[in-house]
């Protein structure tokens, strides 16, 4: 076999352009003894392929297959019984679950009464107690409302000058505009006066310290 031919064939092989017959040629060549040095590296591959190609099922395989087929034919006959068997099993488990469920139900009926203390069987008593509870709640709300009103009154009595505390009004820049100008100018003037008052108050406090 011509070395150049083999090289060409091998290149075709890597490009997957060989026919099955050409591939057989390659396998035959590489299993021989005339492999040139630079191609020796590929011998294991083709040798492996050759080996794998000759794997067959065991010699007793055919007999075992026949036995298996006969067995499967017999099993077909028993299918009718087999269909019902699972159904019987399912019915049995259903009964079991039902039975358990019913017993659990009865047992729980016995033991659950003490836990039902919070429901009322007498509707009148229920209304009475509910009304009582609601009155208590509304009383509580009312007293908290009254407390809030008292707090508000106390605060009112302090007569705090809110406008001086309002940081926005004292820092309004002089913006040339139309109608709003007069109003803003007035506000400005006002806060300037009270600004002085506050500064005075702070100085006094610092003096106290």
């Amino acid at each position: 076999m011509n070395s150049e031919y083999i090289h060409t064939l091998l290149n075709k092989y890597w490009r997957c352009e060989t026919s099955p017959r050409e591939e057989q040629e390659l396998r035959d060549f590489f299993s021989g003894t005339e492999v040139p040095g630079e191609l020796v590296r590929y011998v294991p591959l083709f040798a492996y392929l050759n080996e794998e190609r000759s794997i067959t099922p065991g010699s007793d395989f055919d007999d075992r297959l026949k036995t298996a087929i006969k067995k499967s034919e017999q099993e077909q006959q028993y299918i009718t019984i087999r269909i019902f068997a699972p159904a019987l099993r399912i019915a049995a488990s259903l009964l079991l679950v039902l039975g358990l469920g019913i017993s659990v139900y009865f047992i729980s009926k016995q033991y659950n009464k003490p836990y039902f203390a919070e429901t009322y069987h007498d509707p009148n008593a229920a209304i009475k107690d509910a009304t009582y509870a609601l009155i208590k709640v509304s009383n509580a709300l009312q007293s908290s409302e009254e407390a809030s009103m008292q707090t508000i009154q106390l605060i009112d009595e302090l007569e705090i000058d809110w406008s001086s505390l309002d940081s926005l009004s004292s820092t309004l820049p002089e913006v040339p505009g139309k109608g709003a100008d007069a109003e803003e100018m007035a506000l400005d003037k006002d806060s300037n006066d009270t600004g002085e008052e506050i500064k005075e108050a702070f100085r006094q406090e610092e003096g106290d310290l």
């Binding site: 591939e23 492996y48 794998e52 297959l65």
Partner: protein, 173 residues
């Protein structure tokens, strides 16, 4: 009539189907089980054979699927040990213990490389290299496109080439 078809059409495929199963499960006994299960199942459904377009491709697909299921179910990974029944040694004239060991290593190396191929690459490689099936036959047997067959084969062979070219020529080889 069906018994006849069974013997004429399907049993002749037995060896090829076996090798496909073996290529996947990598064990003689397992492969035989797969093959047997598939054939028995086929036989029990012989009334449906007429409805199947390509019976042979169908056989290959069944074997492939069942073999893959086996592996998944048993979490069977290809073991590092080689099936002792298949240790065939070539280069009979130059045998020596060292040589045998080298050959064993070479074989293991190639098997490992094949194992690392993607599933499609491995199956296509097998069906082509072992069975000499055409691209079209492979496509039908694996239920993939012919283009995918060509691409997979190309990549598989390329990996083989890279693997084997990576070694400098030393005396041991």
């Amino acid at each position: 009539m069906s018994s006849d078809s069974f013997h004429k059409k399907i049993l002749p495929l037995k060896d090829k189907l076996f090798r496909l199963a073996y290529g996947i499960v990598r064990e003689q006994a397992e492969a035989e089980d797969v093959l047997q299960d598939v054939l028995v199942k086929l036989w029990s459904r012989r009334t449906e054979w007429d409805e199947i377009e390509n019976l042979e491709a169908y056989c290959f697909r069944s074997v492939k699927n069942m073999a893959l299921d086996r592996i998944a179910a048993k979490a069977l990974r290809k073991t590092d040990a080689i099936d002792p029944e298949n240790e065939v040694f070539y280069f009979v004239e130059h045998r020596s213990p060292h040589h045998d060991m080298v050959q064993k290593e070479q074989r293991e190396m190639i098997e490992k490389c094949i194992d690392e191929l993607s599933e499609n690459q491995r199956l296509v490689f097998q069906l082509r290299e072992m069975e000499g099936m055409s691209y079209r036959e492979i496509a039908e047997s694996l239920a993939i496109s012919e283009d995918l067959v060509k691409v997979s084969l190309f990549r598989a062979r390329k990996k083989m080439q890279d693997l084997l070219s990576g070694f400098r020529d030393s005396g041991a080889w």
